[in-house]
């Protein structure tokens, strides 16, 4: 009899623990931004960890920088036929939740492997970039300077070219320093710089 009782107690305890675990279990859907990023992940990867060369990784991005870019895409200040409609959608869904969601995700560096020689040349060429983006390429969120570390090389190269051609945020005076710097760098070196920053962890 006591044995049966203890079995019942153990079984009841197990059921109770299971019930508590179920009610307390917080899945990814409990993050207020999760559902609002479902459209983004087609290009930017699950949880914002892009696996392609052309699309940037959004996981771990500073919310302030993210929100500045969404606003710039939406009003055409950062021209992009792909991103303008989606930025408007993000603003309507709630950019704070979306920015928070991506900021909360653990970034996985790009799987695109850049050639070792290009990384080496890029490290040498990056002396001027570190002034703003820091020795580890992580940027400075307080000054809206993005992290470049581990971003896909194709995306980084494209952005440098766009700055040089003044096609990225053409009217934005606050970006004059980076645009001026890009003018001093030959196009061929952009690939090396992109390789280097994509290799940083």
């Amino acid at each position: 009899m006591p044995r049966t009782t203890s079995l019942i107690v153990v079984a009841a305890g197990a059921i109770l623990i299971a019930l508590l675990a179920k009610s307390a279990w917080a899945g990814p859907l409990d993050h207020p931004g999760y559902a609002k990023t479902l459209t983004c992940t087609a290009c930017h990867g699950a949880a914002g960890n892009s696996k392609s060369d052309a699309m940037p990784i959004l996981a771990g991005m500073s919310p302030a920088y993210f929100k500045k870019q969404v606003a710039a895409y939406a009003d055409g200040a950062r021209p992009s036929p792909e991103m303008e409609p989606y930025a408007k959608m993000v603003l309507q869904l709630g950019v704070d939740d979306v920015a928070r969601y991506f900021a909360d995700q653990k970034p996985e560096p790009t799987p695109i492997k850049a050639p070792v020689e290009a990384v080496g040349r890029g490290r040498v060429a990056a002396v001027q970039c570190v002034i703003c983006h820091g020795p580890d390429g992580k940027g400075d969120p307080s000054r809206l300077i993005p992290s470049l570390a581990g971003q896909p090389p194709g995306y980084l190269r494209d952005q440098m070219l766009l700055f040089k051609q003044d096609k990225r945020n053409p009217a934005d005076q606050t970006l004059n320093a980076v645009k001026a710097l890009m003018h001093t760098i030959p196009d061929d070196t952009f690939g090396d710089l992109a390789a280097y920053y994509s290799s940083l962890r």
């Binding site: 899945g27 036929p81 409609p85």
Partner: protein, 424 residues
């Protein structure tokens, strides 16, 4: 970074994506005769997904990501997924079919149980899907059946399915049409027919026209491409395609030319008022929702497409049955792979919430659609949406200003990303 050659640039390998090529381990079933009765008794909450394409594969994965305690069974007759986007580049010889073919091992790693079989019937009253001689029970069902062809709409087509190719479901027909194009004599006539709307991938026929014309111009300069379009104008990205076609004087485009009959014996198609001879034919037939959706009466009065709730994708005709992808109608979205992928994720999220007794978020889909207009340049259209009073409404449509190499590079990035999103 070294400059990419054209072949490297186009050749985003499946290995680089971490997507196994034709992975075939741990197949469940595999033999319809072995499936009798309740051949896989349901032990927990279960979602069954019919169809492992853009919508279904994505939905299966995202139910597992949303709540790994839910069992997911995917029923798909094909051993591997072949991407329709980028398959027009197989016709022009710029890509291999292998480079757009992926196995389902990535989904298995997510815990999806993949059954390589054809779903035979849906029984919503008992929440069962018939497979082989047996059945599977479900709590929620996702039907992502794609399209089936309405062979009977074109006289002579039904009895010549193997001779008159559509290549509108990427796979063996894509490879065979590429072979026919390549073996056509210089000076030959290639006829391509566009079905009336609505059909899968609105800009797809016009991208294909670019690819065939580019191939002919480069390899068989005396040949001609005659396009018989059932529609009064180019259905999608019209101005951008017209601009691209200026490079291809070998295109003879005829709008409002609906094909009504084909006779492969004399190599001739007939429109409502004309007869056209061909050396190679690519006849894209009129379409409707995949057979199982029609048979289960998920389609509307037109007997073609399935109307759904714009937030949950639950069928308006059957409770507990959700329909996604090309088979749906009523949302202001194109029948594209990108939209099916978005529907898959949104529907999966809704189902996870419903099974957990939680509120369903109202999330709109999105559409990003690239078209290759030459061997190196592409164009794109993007649509974003919001939900107003439970209905999907377009916020904006934006086109690329012109064709370019950089759009093509982003097309490659899009494909790499979205194939991973579905299947990795």
């Amino acid at each position: 970074m070294t400059r990419l050659t054209r072949r490297e640039f186009l050749g985003t390998s499946s290995a680089g994506l971490g997507l196994g090529f034709l992975g075939g381990s741990a197949l469940l079933g595999g033999c319809a005769t072995g499936m009798k009765g309740d051949f896989m008794p349901k032990a927990s909450r279960r979602v069954v997904v019919i169809g492992g394409g853009w919508g279904g594969a994505t939905a299966a994965k995202y139910v597992r990501l949303g709540d790994p305690a839910i069992e997911v069974v995917l029923i798909e007759p094909n051993r591997a997924f072949v991407s329709c986007p980028f398959s027009n580049l197989v016709l022009s010889g710029l890509r291999s079919i292998d480079s757009i073919t992926f196995g389902y091992d990535g989904l298995r790693k997510q815990g999806v149980k993949v059954i390589q079989e054809m779903a035979v019937a849906i029984e919503p009253d008992t929440k069962r899907v018939r497979v082989g001689e047996g059945y599977l029970q479900y709590d929620r069902l996702v039907v992502s059946p794609g399209v089936e062809f309405q062979w009977e709409q074109v006289e002579g087509l039904a009895q010549n399915e193997d001779k008159v190719l559509h290549a509108w479901k990427a796979g063996a027909q894509t490879v065979e049409l590429a072979r026919q194009l390549q073996s056509m004599a210089d000076g030959g006539v290639f006829v391509l027919t566009v079905p009336p709307v609505a059909y899968r991938c609105p800009p797809g026929p016009y991208e294909r026209i670019c690819q065939v014309a580019w191939y002919l111009k480069s390899n068989k300069p005396k040949s001609k491409l005659i396009v018989l379009d059932a529609n009064p104008n180019i259905v999608s990205k019209a101005a951008l395609f017209r601009e691209a076609w200026k490079a291809y004087p070998n295109i003879d485009y005829r709008a409002s030319n609906k094909v009504v009959a084909v006779d492969p014996g004399v190599r001739e198609v007939r429109t409502e008022f004309d007869r056209v001879k061909y050396d190679v034919i690519n006849l894209i037939p009129p379409q409707r929702a995949g057979g199982i959706a029609v048979q289960a009466d998920l389609v509307g009065a037109d007997k073609r497409w399935c109307e759904v709730d714009h937030v949950t994708y639950e069928s308006v005709k059957q409770k507990g049955v959700h329909v996604i992808g090309d088979a749906t109608i009523g949302l202001p979205v194109p029948k594209s792979g990108n939209v099916a992928n978005a529907m898959g994720k949104i529907c999966a999220t809704a189902i996870v919430q419903l099974l957990n007794g939680k509120p369903v978020p109202a999330i709109p889909p999105g559409n990003t659609c690239y078209s290759w207009v030459s061997d190196r340049e592409a164009i794109a259209v993007v649509n974003s949406y919001r939900i107003d009073n439970g209905k999907v409404v377009q916020i904006e449509q934006k086109l690329t200003p012109a064709q370019s190499v950089s759009v093509a590079q982003r097309a490659v990035g899009w494909a790499q990303s979205i194939w991973s999103d579905m299947l990795a």
